[in-house]
């Protein structure tokens, strides 16, 4: 069975739709800046979607009087674009929606908590009723009119990769005919302070794979892809999803093993599912968060697989930040277009190679390259590593 990618939708700090995202990647326009849309005293760059919640609601034709979590708004924006792009009839029973998020409605919950902490009878309930991860998923599914299988995955930063993998497997098992899969996450105080407390936020613009890299920048956004069996596709697919795998590093709750065991496991297994040799991968969209630990561990795993023939690779994290539960949703969209149009994305801010890594990422935007297969990585807390393979449809 061939699984086709037939629809794409993305919103991030560098654009409200897929074409805006690509245009920013092409012209080197990143989304980093000081936090403007949520209150924090931390002075670190973040990649915010450049609109208030009220502006997002307006763009989505929602009643601006109501309260929506930012996670739900961003998710609806990207999922709606993906569904329209694929031209699928979502009212059909066997259309599923699989979303992922790491914070859910936390942006509202932390506002609620300011009043609630001193008196449990205080705090506006509408601010906390959307706290759980499932809330944004069900809101988006309802808005889209999807009444088939709906669920939410939350495995930290690899969440959306796992959502896409589940979607593919449900098509394989003939449990669904079409599935919208990906993830959404909004920036909030909770996650920014969480990564701050782990001392892995760079106060400067992040530099994936660079010798001077000193940590990550967070971002927000959402990304979804529509998957169908290729014979059911209403339009010519962007590409095929040929490989997917999830493996666990089982080394540390938040750090990666020096050998990159989990990453090695997910990348090799995803390529095995796709039936590909290392020489057939033409581009790797790496996880590349720009923490000293992640990039070295990921590079080590890549070298274990590809030896001295490492294909072109890059991290888009310096453009859009680490968007956590949304990251592989957005990056799956970029990866699908890499296969379709031969795009290779620039790894912004890479200047000096790290001797321990011994690899240099792509630094210029390219198009029209021969890209047969793209490997895309997403790694998370809990040792959770997921890799996807996108391949040419012809």
């Amino acid at each position: 069975m061939r699984i086709a990618v037939t629809g794409l939708g993305a919103v991030s700090g560098i654009g409200f739709c897929v074409s805006e995202n690509i245009e920013s990647l092409r012209t080197g326009r990143h989304g980093m800046g000081k936090p403007r849309f949520f209150q924090t005293t931390l002075d670190v760059p973040v990649s915010e979607v450049k609109a208030t919640n009220a502006e997002l609601a307006k763009r989505l034709n929602l009643n601006a009087e109501r309260t929506y979590s930012r996670t739900a708004l961003l998710g609806l924006m990207a999922a709606r674009e993906a569904v329209a792009d694929a031209g699928i009839d979502v009212s059909k029973k066997r259309v599923g929606f699989i979303s992922s998020t790491s914070v859910g409605g936390m942006d509202l919950s932390e506002v609620f908590y300011n009043d609630f902490r001193t008196d449990h009878n205080r705090g506006r309930l509408r601010l906390v009723s959307q706290h759980d991860c499932g809330a944004s998923t069900e809101f988006i599914a309802n808005q889209l009119g999807i009444s088939g299988f709906v669920t939410t995955i939350s495995t930290a930063c690899s969440s959306a990769g796992n959502a896409i993998m589940l979607g593919a497997r449900m098509l394989q098992h003939n449990m669904l005919d079409a599935v919208v899969a990906g993830g959404t996450d909004a920036l909030c105080k909770f996650t920014l302070n969480g990564f701050g407390s782990l001392m892995i936020l760079d106060k400067e613009h992040c530099r994936p794979f660079d010798a001077t890299r000193a940590g990550l920048n967070l971002g927000e956004g959402a990304g979804y892809i529509v998957l169908q069996r290729s014979e059911d596709a209403a339009r010519a697919p962007y590409c095929l999803l040929t490989g997917y795998a999830n493996a666990n590093d089982a080394y540390h709750q938040t750090g990666c093993s020096p050998e990159g065991n989990g990453a090695f496991g997910s990348m090799s297994a995803a390529m095995a599912v796709a039936g590909l040799q290392p020489s057939e991968i033409d581009y790797i969209n790496v996880h590349g968060t720009a923490t000293p630990n992640n990039d070295l561990s990921e590079a080590t795993a890549i070298r274990r697989i590809f030896g001295d023939r490492v294909p072109p690779f890059s991290s888009v994290k310096a453009f859009i930040g680490h968007t956590l539960g949304a990251s592989e949703g957005i990056e799956a969209v970029y990866s699908a277009l890499s296969v379709k149009n031969g795009y290779v994305y620039p790894n912004l801010n890479f200047k000096s190679a790290d001797e321990a890594i011994g690899l240099a990422p792509e630094t210029e935007f390219a198009e029209g390259r021969r890209v047969r297969n793209v490997l895309s990585n997403a790694f998370g807390f809990g040792g959770n590593d997921t890799s996807l393979v996108f391949s040419r449809a012809d």
């Binding site: 005293t41 939410t152 089982a250």
Partner: protein, 305 residues
Amino acid sequence: MKPVYITRTCQIANDQLVMDGVEAVLDYKEIIADPALRRRMSRIVKMGVACGLKCIEELAPESIDAIITATGFGCLADTEKFIESIVANSERLLNPTPFIQSTFNTIGGQIALLRGIHSYNVTYAHRGLSFESALIDAAMQVAEGKKNVLLGAIDEITASSADIQRRLGMTREYELGEGANFFVLNATTSVKDQPAVFDIDTRSGKQTEDNLVEWIVEMADRNNIKTSDLWIIFINSLSDIKNNIKEKLGPNNNIMGYKSLIYPTFTASVLDYAINMLMGLTKMKILLVTEYQHINYSLILLGRG
């Protein structure tokens, strides 16, 4: 769907450990030996990790092909602790432990870490269908040839979440609860009459009595079973309408209601209960009809293989 055999069950609720239906001694010190690690763990993490570890204690790490967990609310105490520290310390000098543990996949990740299990590991967090989603994934894993799939569900209740749920009116019909339930699933078993899940389906959005009847018949049909040959157990608020549904379904004397404590992944504890009930039934299958907050519904068909 191919039958999925449940080769081991483990439950921790009210500080009691029950394994394969038999009460056992719950000694966290024995299960999680590292005292520093144990101290850092919040209640839900300790409960979930201990329950999962007990469930696979006799299995070699390389023989476990998947760890699939479910939690509706995640690690609430850790989440609140971290939010409180952000406010109280004005975003400065925060202890990262509650943040790290607030992640929804903490329990699945910790089980993998403590036993060195490198296989598939995923966590579902979707309200009243978190456990059902995990069960569907687990059934697919088993169908894909995976062995010893560890499936678990964990939710905790905290003072704050109880107050919020009370204010939201979620406690009017229900009594809140919490617990951890883990299961080991396999495609085959050497044990005669081993309990097995035969089918599962989920729905979101309020279901009418007619919707439920139609859905139950549809599931019975696709499994070639007459509804009159099923023990149908209506869970929680559905037990109040069981007689109406019974009339619409036609003759069936094997209909009962069951009220459990309520938390998003409570259906895992109901499944454990039904597995024990199966031991007293020779040939019949059980159909669980569950409901959570009138938004999430599931049907789970189980019997002895």
